[in-house]
Amino acid sequence: MKQDSSSAEQYWRRNLQIIFSYLVVWFAVSFGCGIVFVDELNQFNLFGFKLGYWFANQGSILVFCVLTIGYAVRMSRLDSEFDVHE
């Protein structure tokens, strides 16, 4: 089936929105919580961890996993929605 260019453009725009929102989270947990605001967060305690340290050594990894899994699932749905799946 031939794709018309406007729906391909729309698909791409939606994809860019999704990527952008995921990267905001990616940046916030690693560079934000893990580095820039680490001292402020370290004043809080989470199950025996200083919160900032936890983000830098455990939390960011966990969120990264959730992000990549979420993106794979979300994009599979978007592919079907725009009928561009393989």
Binding site: Y22, I61, A72, E86
Partner: protein, 607 residues
Amino acid sequence: MSLEQLTYLFVVGSFFIYIAIAFWSRASSTREFYVAGGGVTPLANGMATAADWMSAASFISLAGIVSFAGYDASGYIMGWTGGYVLLALLLAPYLRKFGKFTVPDFVGDRYYSNVARVVAVVCVMFISFTYISGQMRGTGIVFSRFLQVEIDTGIMIGMAVVFVYAVLGGMKGITYTQVAQYCVMIFAFTVPALFLTFSMTGHLLPQTGLGATLDNGRPVLDHLDGLVSELGFASFTEGSKSKVDMFFITAALMFGTAGLPHVIVRFFTVPRVRDARISAAWALVFIAILYSTIPAVAAFGRINLIETVNGADNKGTPYEEMPQWFKKWENAGLIAWYDHNADGRTQYAAGDAFTGRQHKPIYWGAADDKVARNFYFNQRHVVNPSSGEFDPQVQPFANEIYVDPDIMVLANPEIAELPDWVIALIAAGAMAAALSTAAGLLLVIATSVSHDLLKKTIRPQITDGQELLAARLAAMVAVLIAGYLGMHPPDYVAAVVALAFGLACASFFPAIIMGIFYQRMNKYGAISGMLVGLISTLCYIVYFKFMGGEPEHWLLGISPEGFGALGMVLNFIVAYLVAHLTPEPPKHIQQIVQNIRVPRNNGSAYY
């Protein structure tokens, strides 16, 4: 069965498995040799990517680095996992859709230029050879530590094994051996970590055990912070590096990870675009299992080390009462003791116990030389003790101990008093980590030579069979060079690794990203951007690492390890400006860009 026999059994047994797998899945065409025929399932590719990525350094050294640097090392943890978010979101799906064999392939085709292709090949070679020499060295070190074989002999054995299965099996062969190697290494890393966590905290998982409360009623990390500050060290959970520097180092490692050719090429091996996304997620999950365990191993290891060396009363432990593992690794040259205050007790605190380059001990005589032992306490003689001065305001005694960071993983099973088979497993796991990464790099080098240089640039008329032969020959030559580099390592290995990441970050990452997301980017912009990123990063690292540049002159306080991130920004800016001053790319290139953005292949509709 003795420990040595068990270790031989595990290591040799795993070699046979790898070679058997490679024989069973050997490559018979260039497509199989380069991208495993494009038929690898996302789960298998995720495991293979994880094994490819986690090198001897991740397996043996990283926990030790985290153990001694604490929060300051979290740039490695975040950088080397966060890069996979970038890969999954920004690179893997589109490069898979592009559907060629190599990274220089993409750069050369997208920027319709053989100059761009050759620049990319040079970067690939530099990054990959840097890395692979470290892996060959790693196999040699594992042999020498666990099996009492000379390092050079160990490297030759490692070369022979990689040679057989990478040259024979190609990408198809190494993919399935990497799956097996991932299983071996993750088992070898996590089993001792689980036992260690359980014995110290009663928790099953290292990830939660790190937040647990110890027998003395204090949380693990609080206890550790207290221990290290009493001894004059910096806090474990808080950093001493500047935030700007942390930021740039983490960024360089993250974007560098996403720009490493041997990782990117793994995503060419899955059948569909959505499989590329799914396998990137799997890869990160498999990597996360090891990386999220590392901080726990590091913290427990440091606590154990301090409490063993300094004793319960914090006055030091008499040498003859030190546990067996301490003496074993002293004999292996990874631990040394010089009795600065001559009380016969080992003491560990801040400061260097030894002088000279890197403050490593220089032993007098061999480990089994009875004469080279101290007359009173029978420890190994060391000829370069430091002055032993210390500030009594800061710490109770001078540091008398040298500990190689690798101890944190290597000695773990012994510290936790685990059975011999677990120790043997660590050897097999470390070997798997080194071999899997070496094989992946080898393939990237071979492919660059046979495909990008020979087929695409110098002699386009060669047949598929000739190209396959060329790829195998290139892999053979690359094994020999890698082995040579492993036996004669440049003594600035760590600095060179910073260079590899910095270059991947400053050259490849921007070129690929703009190739996908910025249709207007043309060859002039891309090539000038890559050259600016490459040259600025190279100059900065060479000046500060090899020509004696002083840290106070760092630009904006950014260390050489983090400069790649700034080089990347320069690359983006220069490429954007140049692209706007030069003609836009031809129509058929813009069509390619449109085409890679959509998963389904619409054939002629987009070309």
